[in-house]
Symmetry: C2
Amino acid sequence: QDILKINKRIASDNRALFDENGVTVFNVMGAIGSGKTCLIEKAIDMLKDEYSIAVMAGDVVAKYDSDRFTAHGIISIPISTGKECHLDAHFIEHGIEELDLSSIDVLFIENVGNLICPSDFDLGEHFKIVIVSVSEGDDIVMKHPVIFKNADLTVVNKIDISEYVGASSEKMAEDSMRCGCPRVIMASCKKGAGIDEWIQYLRDSIEG
Amino acid sequence: QDILKINKRIASDNRALFDENGVTVFNVMGAIGSGKTCLIEKAIDMLKDEYSIAVMAGDVVAKYDSDRFTAHGIISIPISTGKECHLDAHFIEHGIEELDLSSIDVLFIENVGNLICPSDFDLGEHFKIVIVSVSEGDDIVMKHPVIFKNADLTVVNKIDISEYVGASSEKMAEDSMRCGCPRVIMASCKKGAGIDEWIQYLRDSIEG
Ligand SMILES: Nc1nc2c(ncn2[C@@H]2O[C@H](COP(=O)(O)OP(=O)(O)OP(=O)(O)O)[C@@H](O)[C@H]2O)c(=O)[nH]1
Ligand SMILES: Nc1nc2c(ncn2[C@@H]2O[C@H](COP(=O)(O)OP(=O)(O)OP(=O)(O)O)[C@@H](O)[C@H]2O)c(=O)[nH]1
Ligand SMILES: [Mg+2]
Ligand SMILES: [Mg+2]
Ligand SMILES: [Zn+2]
Ligand SMILES: [Zn+2]
């Protein structure tokens, strides 16, 4: 598709700018309401003393999540995607114009809640992360194999309510690895399980 | 957009076929894992003695939900949407070819989990239903106003776990009406709350 080819070119340009400026970029994808914002908020709180952090918040009405991020004292750029159901490199290119990359170490990009389209659109990131929660049902991974195949990390969130929704977080973890994702973290953003592991994954990725 | 214009025309053709054959059609949309399949399964069990029911199950890997429906002894047509993140009238046109409309009273179409794109694509249905669950967070409605504006009914599902995810089902109900949806049902597909109301809404819509 021409659209994907054009996107790849803009994504490479974005990545080159990030690399020139030593910015590590995480593309945080996942289902609607799976806990993307919560997990990024935890990352901000636990890493902002070590690194200069910025966020790009992509959504139909981006200000809701963007305001949650700025409440933590960091810069967040809202990216209103309107009828687009995924971020693309072009949106990120414009987002970059709003930031001073030379003063940033880490950029989190919260993608639009969607397990289908985002895997097709490289944004210029270094790491692709997919967040799913037990409340989506434990068949959620096998129903969307491509996004897991292309991910560097899957976080299975809300494990604290597994029994209330009748879903197996273990099955979700196994399925994501079966689909080709090399690493899974089981977490409860609300209760704290797995958060240290999540932060360590991010730190290792930034330093690596 | 030409795409939307073409879709509108095919949707009208679909609707004409449904009307000729006296089939009432429900387009069941909603977030990933919000409970669309569960609610349709309840509808099948409680209405199949009164009406001849069929389902079209649209998803990346449609067989998972389609097999759940056929287990209830009714016809289900799986529609594999692949990289498309929403059903359109063209998919439904092909689905119709697999059914004998003259022998069907009610058709449920389970749309792809997505709160953005489906609202743009008329399928030829008579009623648009949106299913959201408290586990998506109670800001989910205001984050996606358009789909609620165009819906006939919103179901706020999984109210049994509202406190475990820290979300207000009342706020979600109020927001959907504020966005323009005329009717809301609070439900727990798992525990039974609101299911009688859901079935009555369907029965009134079929008979109305
Ligand atoms: N029980 C439980 N609830 C959680 C957990 N993590 C997040 N939640 C709840 O899930 C809802 C959604 O959390 P968010 O962080 O906003 O999720 P999101 O993926 O950013 O949502 P969108 O950006 O709207 O797609 C909120 O009501 C949270 O309180 C968890 O680990 N356990
Ligand atoms: N606690 C609770 N869990 C529910 C309720 N309804 C559905 N679930 C759970 O939510 C998960 C998803 O249910 P489904 O009916 O498959 O949802 P869906 O919207 O069809 O999912 P997709 O088609 O994959 O987008 C399953 O694990 C269900 O057991 C409810 O009322 N309360
Ligand atoms: Mg969010
Ligand atoms: Mg389903
Ligand atoms: Zn899409
Ligand atoms: Zn779409």
